[in-house]
Amino acid sequence: MDHAMPAPARARRRHVTRWVAGAVLVVLVAVAVVAATRPSSQATEVQSPLVGHRAPALTGTTLGGRPFALASERGHYVYVNFFASWCPPCQQEQPALVDFAFRQSRVASGARMVSVVFNDTVAGARRFVADWGLRWPVVPDSGGAIANRYGVGSPPMTFLVAPSGVVAGTWIGPVTVAQLDQMLVAARRGELFSGGTGTGNG
């Protein structure tokens, strides 16, 4: 049937089909293996590019009416936590934050805390602060400018700012006391820390 094609050409082309099919197969199997071994996207942690760099400006008037500036906290470890009252993981992590803040307040060189309201009404934030008993400065973020500077896509997200003013660690998603401790220990050793459960705003 194959009169039009000389025999050597036919042999060569036969191999072309086989090689092409084989190559496609190998590539697809490799891709499938990568896909199969990937964790779910919700569990993949995202690293903040801010770690190791100077912390962006954070100034404003707290819900209590006092002025706040991160720059004036220089010399202390400061946790910056972004939250919203409508975000369940934020509610989930508040007891840990309150507990941790209480214990740090009793240590001489303890870390300080500041919370930033992420896309929420002032009324909602006030209720949230009262409900969970937050006793540290809470800064509303009108227009989302602070969240934008810190690259926060969805709350909760926690940053640890070293006494030098450099971001020493981040945690994406709800945080526990152990993780907050771990972050602080790493920062005191001069290590940078990135982690998270990446659960986003659920």
Partner: protein
């Protein structure tokens, strides 16, 4: 509790039926052509009955709000209206697999019924075996990781469907059509495996497969367009396509299926591209499985993805099985399937189809790469990367323009080779209409090379398709067959599809290139002007039904209406509020309204505009999109064309007149591949296989 028991029984029945089907078909293949006492045909009925039982039980549970079933409790509430109770079947993972199973059972039944008199043909045996195997896999999922009939002893509280899945009736049509499309591609795959395994790559079988593909393709096309329409009406950003992984998962099989529908014509007419066509059938099916994996495993970030599940590894394993068996068979059989003749000249219609296939498959490759790239990059570099709309658009625009050009030129090309003078004679009128449209657009003030080329090529392609249709209608009238005969059949239906694609493309180009968007701050009774339209805000009203609690803004656009963009809560005051857009649709374009913010409630959306909003005012998002409605009309025309193409057309000469050299190229031996009837016989004989090949296949 009864639905849970009946449903589980149905799933098990279908699973056992499918497994028995696999065994019986395999036994038939091993024992050769001797009619077996066991009949695999009846098992299709068993599978179908099982699937119907399971789906029926689930629907009864949904409609009667039987919250003993975990699935019903998760996707239904007592207040859910009947239509959204019914659609609850496919609003979540386990139920959607159940729907998949039902559609697959129907296709199994149709295949077995259509080839009931040829059940002992080895190709049919292999094909039914594959169908049963795929069915067994999906029903296996339902007794394992995706069990829709998990129940709890005490009735749970119904959470209600996702808010976005209960405010538009399109959710009743779009997913079943999409699933018909996806699942239907199992049939071409099954026959591709059958043909490869038996070594009989008859053009007649491909003609059969083409019909099955056409059914799925039409359903998938309409499903995709309706899906785009749904997201346009519901999601509130005025767009319809976001290159989301789940959307891409539907587009990929469509691209491959479209390529197949064109290249199979080359095989039917000229006996060419056999390996290519089989590869496309396999790739199309493999892509539907990959799409299922992407949608349901949670490995890619997507707004449409189902909730996280442990289906991922199972689905990817099945994908691997499909790919390895399909492409493994091609690697093994590839030599035997080679075509005896080649494409002759770049200008012939074969050449156009070849280029068309390269564009479609190349585009599919880019879409696949872009969809999987974040996954691969994260695995290699441990860093997130986004591949979004700008990337896909970079490729989609030139690919779309190239396809429009091919649609314009290809219908005027003859098979084999065409003389340039004759070609210009056929193309002059369509080409000039394209040029006239471009000139008219420029004169009317349209600026931008891409939209101008889009409109011009669309006019060119439309005129070309219309020319073919007019000639066909005229010819069939002359024959006395009635003018409607000129609109049915493969070629003419295809031209109607082309017209639909052109209408869709015009809408797409106009709406995406010339949309204008603004945020209008309006007080009650005041009028605003934007993009040639006037907007008047009349006031707010509250809508409170058991299903929905909403505040609507009453807006008149150009005096018409009222249109009511709203903020709605489905499932009580504590549930998440979603925006409900309102659309003023017209022939020349749409005005799309969203309610972005209001001063009265003090609800901040974070923007600076909102901070300064007066107490009684609202911030109204207005998007003006010219010719938007053409997209949906074009999509429906594509569906109509697909249906017309399914109707058997008039018998034609086997081939168009060819140049005198043709027999020399084809060789002295009669070439069965190049001369099939242009419409398949209802009972195609297996293609005569060259002797050595047959021997090899039986050894």
């Amino acid at each position: 509790m009864l639905p849970a028991v009946l449903g589980s029984a149905g799933v098990w029945l279908a699973l056992v039926g499918a497994l028995c089907g696999v065994v019986v078909c395999a036994a038939g293949l091993v024992r050769g052509r001797v009619p077996s006492r066991l009949d695999a045909r009846l098992l299709a009925v068993v599978v179908l009955v099982g699937a119907l039982l399971a789906v029926g039980a689930m629907e009864v549970a949904l409609v009667t709000h039987d919250f003993h079933l975990v699935y019903v409790a998760d996707n239904n509430a007592t207040a859910t209206p009947l239509i959204y109770s019914i659609t609850g079947l496919w609003s979540s993972l386990a139920g959607s697999i159940l729907l998949w199973g039902l559609v697959l059972a129907v296709f199994c039944g149709l295949v077995v019924w259509r080839y009931r008199r040829r059940a002992h043909d080895d190709v049919v045996r292999w094909a039914t075996l594959v169908m049963y195997a795929v069915a067994a896999f999906f029903f296996g999922l339902m007794v394992g990781p995706a069990n829709p009939f998990l129940s709890s002893a005490a009735p749970l509280r119904g959470a209600g469907p996702n808010a976005l899945l209960q405010d538009n009736p399109l959710v009743a049509i779009h997913p079943p059509l999409l699933y018909t499309g996806f699942v239907g591609f199992t049939v071409p795959f099954a026959f591709a495996i059958g043909m490869l395994a038996t070594g009989r790559v008859g053009e007649q079988w491909q003609a059969e497969v083409r019909r099955w593909t056409l059914i799925s393709w039409t359903a998938l096309s309409v499903g995709i367009v309706l899906g785009a329409w749904w997201s346009y009406q519901v999601l509130g950003w005025g767009g319809f396509w976001g290159w989301d992984p789940v959307e891409n998962a539907a587009l990929l099989p469509w691209l491959c299926g479209t390529a197949y529908l064109h290249s199979v014509l080359v095989q039917e007419r000229r006996g060419l591209l056999r390996v290519w066509n089989l590869s496309l059938s396999i790739a199309t099916f493999a892509l539907t499985i990959l799409g299922t994996f992407l949608t349901r495993s949670g490995v890619v970030v997507s707004v449409h993805a189902f909730s996280e599940s442990d289906l991922g590894p199972v689905l990817i394993a099945f994908f691997l099985l499909v790919v390895v068996s399909g492409f493994g068979l091609i690697a093994w059989r590839g030599d035997r399937l080679r075509s005896p003749v080649g494409v002759d000249a770049p200008l012939g219609r074969e050449g156009a189809f070849l280029v068309n296939n390269l564009v479609l498959v190349g585009f599919a490759f880019v879409v696949l790469l872009g969809t999987l790239f974040p996954l691969l990059y994260q695995a290699l570099e441990n860093q997130a990367v986004t591949v979004g709309a700008p990337y896909f658009d970079t490729v989609a625009v030139p690919a779309g323009l190239a396809l429009l050009l091919l649609m314009a030129v290809a219908p005027a090309l003859s098979w084999r080779k065409v003389d340039a003078g004759v070609l210009w004679g056929r193309l002059a009128l369509p080409a000039w209409s394209g040029v006239v449209v471009v000139v008219a657009c420029v004169a009317a003030g349209v600026r931008g090379v891409e939209p101008l080329l889009g409109f011009g090529l669309a006019a060119f392609a439309a005129a070309s398709a219309l020319r073919s249709l007019v000639l066909a209608v005229r010819a069939s009238t002359r024959r006395g067959a009635g003018p409607w005969r000129g609109l049915v059949g493969r070629t003419n239906g295809g031209m109607v599809v082309h017209l639909g694609v052109v209408v869709l493309a015009v809408g797409l180009v106009a709406a995406s290139s010339f949309r204008s968007q603004a945020e209008l701050v309006l007080r009650p009774g005041k009028v605003a002007h934007f993009a040639g339209h006037t907007f008047m805000f009349e006031g707010l009203r509250t809508v409170d039904t058991p299903q929905r609690l909403a505040t609507e803004a009453i807006v008149r656009v150009d005096g018409g209406g009222p249109f009511t963009p709203a903020v709605s809560q489905y499932g009580g005051p504590s549930s998440q509020a979603v925006g409900t857009p309102a659309i003023d649709s017209g022939f020349f374009g749409d005005v799309y309204l969203t309610w972005d913010a209001t001063g009265r409630t003090g609800k901040s959306t974070g923007g600076n505009v909102v901070a300064t909003l007066p107490k009684t005012a609202i911030a109204l998002g207005a998007i003006v999109e010219p010719l938007m409605g053409w997209m949906w009309a074009g999509g429906m025309l594509v569906g109509l064309g697909g249906l017309l193409a399914m109707v058997p057309g008039t018998r034609r000469r086997a081939t168009d007149p060819v140049s005198a050299l043709a027999p020399l190229v084809a060789g002295a031996a009669p070439d069965p591949g190049s001369r099939p009837g242009s419409e398949p016989e209802p009972e195609p004989e297996p293609e005569p296989v060259p002797e050595p090949a047959r021997l090899a296949s039986e050894s």
